[in-house]
Amino acid sequence: MIGKFAFWPDLASTVAWKVDAIYIFILLVTILVSLGVYAAIVAFVVKYKRRSEDEIPEQIEGNLPLEILWSVIPLGLVLVMFGWGAVLFFELTTPPAEALNFYVVGKQWMWKVQHPSGKREINELHVPLGQPVKLTLTSEDVIHSFFIPAFRTKIDVVPGRYSVKWFEPSKVGEYHIFCTQYCGNQHAQMIGRVVVMELPQYEQWLKNGGASSVNTGETPEVAGARLFQEQRCVTCHQTNGIMAPVLQGVFGKEVKLQGGQTAVADEAYIRESILNPTAKVVAGYQPNMPTFQGQVTEDAILQLIAYIKSLGGAAGEKTAAVKPDGVQPTEQQPAASPATEEAPSATAKPADEEQPNVGTETPTPENSQSAPATEETPSPHEEQTM
């Protein structure tokens, strides 16, 4: 807990004890080996103290079996550490499919967080107990690193890249968030707190907000859909694919590029295509998209990505297909608000729901107006919004 002296960090995520277990294992092995070696050193120094100025001790060249023994045993021990650490590393770097999607943007010297419901906060991260949370992080300026000691988790936050971190809080409380990659003057002030709450309290908090949070009333997907209109992406990216590639269902899939190469349409690719559209042009299209460098913020790009994700994608990716033409320009904004006010439902355990996508993908304004286009991709929004 913040402000309480301790010799051991809080265990507040489902992986914390696993990290501690391997830590304690290595601690025991190394204490045993070090004490053994050091006891031998001290014993030899005491026992074989020089007795006379001219003493010549027995000369021993070496011993091959011993050399082999003290190479092979440490090798075995470190291989165990490696294997165990590798399995844990995989677990730490592989978010569960049903995790809630949070977006985090680091900048000198603050953390900006956006919840799946659209709620935003700065230097604070409220999360529900017992829900896997997946963070997608990027930086607006230098490299930062997002560290929650109580969760035993950390990831660098790199400008121009998306990093992913996940955790499942297992204990209610407030814990430190630290920036651990030196990022300039106020590096030590780039701190915050993560607040783990029981689900009902979290839902309450989502409604009533907190001092440092803003409820825009827009989920990232809704905001992305709005930006898609505002930035006039929709002019070319239509469902007919005449002017520009169709974005429906593209997320997470492999796309063919000019020159015969392929690329996976993941977050990084979409980001690159927005900022540097001529870098990887989809086969069959002209490189005539303008760059949006300097016109959209990192937050906005994340929202656009969230929107494109919501248009459907590769198998395994949960989809909530929405046709861009289903969204009317900004006057539809108000329609979004009532939808997101119900956002707490987004935090319900996905496993309990019939629809696999509930929990990660959040309601979009389209469903309330049920554009004809959405019919062909039966979407689960209704039960979320109503």
Partner: protein, 555 residues
């Protein structure tokens, strides 16, 4: 013994400094600044490194004072950031890297292999001047207000965001790097071509093996950091987009390039210390180092494997998970040669004849700190655990145990061991033992709490910190003051001994080795009166040398 014993002086106990030695071969400034004698160049390095050490220590003192309390009440964040950056840059590029190779290596390599000098004496002097040029650039950096990027110079902070003297500081490191390359090159050629008759590769003292491995790294890895720093300067100075993502660059690429040098550089810093330890432990125990060839090849093993582990600095840098695992595995492999060395040193003491003079204190102190530093590396190699430990004080404690507890302890021990050879005088034993003990106690008190506070999550490079971490930081600062006394003492009694110290005689420890047995203390300018002919293995303590006898040649 069939050696032709040539008493250099009268048999009488009253020893004298030899009338002709490298120290009294000219007293003018010019005779020092234009010297081609490897021993004098070593002294030039020693003076320079001592000054840089005091400078780096002053920065460390400032850091520890600020961290005494959780709030930033002693200095501004900006000042603090410059303090730890300057501390790192000075200590790494201007103290740790040159300490043992450029001082003890320069002094001892020709003496140990029976040569009159290094292969390229002029290049050797030039290395010192290049080093000093780097040092001047560093001082200029400090005078113009310092640099605040951390010694790692990570982009894009260093290239696009920092308002401090990044280009000057990188120029300083860049220049010092050339000195390091030239010294390494010189040593490699010296060891290959200048060995005395009979000095075969497997008769070489283990210090030579260690420095040979070190030199290989210096020559092969340093150019990479040079190129990387040039790229950084181009990006910062001319706005070329190499690392800056806003210009299409890749900031993680910088980290790969940086650590491709800087991880091997860790072995540039610790391998020579291991070499010093092998020499000292053989003499202290009067025993041939147990498993000589295993210790020799483990140096090469560390040097080679050390080139393939850099990615363990990038486990959480968005590097691919599979790359992370490969680097984790290879990193674990470095533990094996290090363990082999430690076990062999321990076995060397077994059934030895252990002298309780000052060098033993440094040997025991080194082993204690090095073992802790080594085993804590295992925690950081474990990929899944490093996710938590990365960039916390656990890492700070770990590398100080290796770099300062290991290398600086070995360097101090080496100075205490070879001081009589370098100056012809003995320092007071009591003070030597006291200094070693204070360093050992002070060091543990300073850095052990940092493991604990690191696991609790305290990040490094923090100017302020949450109050619950204060106890550990107070312990650290208290320990640092003891450590400081331990480091200052040798400055005093070494200087004192130059005038008042007891005359040492050629071989006060009755140690084996050409530098002890075949020449005076201090040695003459040409090192040996007669070129030594080597007929025995290293550390052949079954023929115990006399303290006050200089051999004409071996057997």
């Amino acid at each position: 013994m069939s050696a032709v014993a040539v008493p250099k002086h009268e048999e009488a106990p009253a020893l004298e400094i030899p009338s002709q030695n490298y120290l009294n071969d000219g007293y003018s400034i010019r005779s020092w600044l234009l010297t081609l004698d490897h021993k004098r160049i070593a002294i030039l390095y020693m003076v320079a490194v001592a000054i840089f050490f005091l400078m780096g220590a002053a920065f460390a003192l400032m850091i520890r004072l600020e961290l005494l309390t959780p709030a930033g009440d002693f200095m501004e964040a900006e000042t603090y950031n410059k303090m730890f950056t300057m501390h790192g840059v000075v200590m790494i590029f201007f103290v740790l890297i040159p300490s043992i190779p450029a001082i003890l290596g320069n002094f001892l390599i020709p003496l140990m292999i029976g040569a009159r000098d290094v292969a390229f004496p002029r290049l050797n002097l030039m290395s010192w001047y290049v080093f000093m040029l780097g040092g001047m650039l560093l001082l200029t950096t400090a005078i113009f207000g310092g640099v605040d990027t951390g010694w790692t110079f990570y982009v894009p902070f260093s290239s696009m965001f920092s308002n401090s003297n990044v280009i000057l500081a990188t120029m300083a490191a860049f220049t010092a790097g050339f000195s390091s390359i030239l010294t390494g090159l010189n040593f490699i050629v010296t060891v290959h071509t200048m060995r005395a008759p009979g000095m075969t590769w497997f008769r070489l003292p283990l210090f030579i093996w260690a420095l040979y491995a070190t030199s290989l790294i210096q020559v092969l890895a340093t150019p990479v950091i040079a190129i990387t720093l040039v790229l950084l300067m181009l990006e910062r100075g001319l706005g070329l987009g190499i690392f800056n993502p806003a210009l299409g660059g890749d900031p993680v690429l910088f980290q790969h390039l940086f650590w491709f040098y800087s991880h091997p550089a860790v072995y540039i810093m610790i391998l020579p210390g291991m070499g010093v330890l092998s020499e000292m432990i053989a003499c202290v125990a009067r025993r041939r180092v147990f498993g000589y060839s295993f210790v020799a090849f483990s140096s090469l093993g560390i040097a080679i494997i050390g080139f393939f582990v850099w990615g363990h600095h990038l486990f959480v840098s968005t590097q691919s998970v599979y790359a992370g695992l490969a680097f984790s595995l290879i990193t674990f492999l470095v533990a094996i040669p290090s363990a082999i060395k430690t076990f062999n040193w321990t076995a060397t003491l077994y059934k030895g004849s252990i002298s309780y003079e000052s060098p033993l204190y440094f040997v025991v102190g080194f082993l204690g700190l090095f073992v802790i530093g080594g085993v804590t590396g295992l925690f950081l190699s474990t990929a899944g655990l490093d996710v938590h430990l990365h960039d916390t004080y656990f890492v700070v404690a770990h590398f100080h145990y290796i770099m300062v507890g290991g290398e600086i302890m070995a360097f101090l021990g080496g100075l205490h061991f070879w001081w009589p050879k370098m100056t012809g005088r003995l320092y007071p034993e009591f003070w030597g033992k006291l200094s070693a003990s204070l360093v050992f106690v002070g060091f543990n008190l300073t850095f052990f709490p940092q493991f604990l506070v690191g696991y609790l999550g305290m990040p490094r490079r923090y100017h302020t910190y949450p109050p619950e971490f204060q106890l550990f930081n107070v312990m650290s600062t208290a320990g640092a003051s003891i450590l400081g006394v331990g480091y200052i003492l040798p400055f005093i009694y070494f200087l004192w001994s130059l005038k008042y110290g007891k005359v040492a005689g050629p071989n006060p420890w009755r140690a084996k080795g050409l530098e002890w047995e075949n020449t005076t203390s201090p040695p003459p300018t040409g090192n040996f009166e007669h070129t030594p002919i080597v007929t025995e293995e290293a550390y052949e303590y079954s023929h115990l040398p006399e303290a006050n006898v200089v051999r004409a040649s071996t057997h």
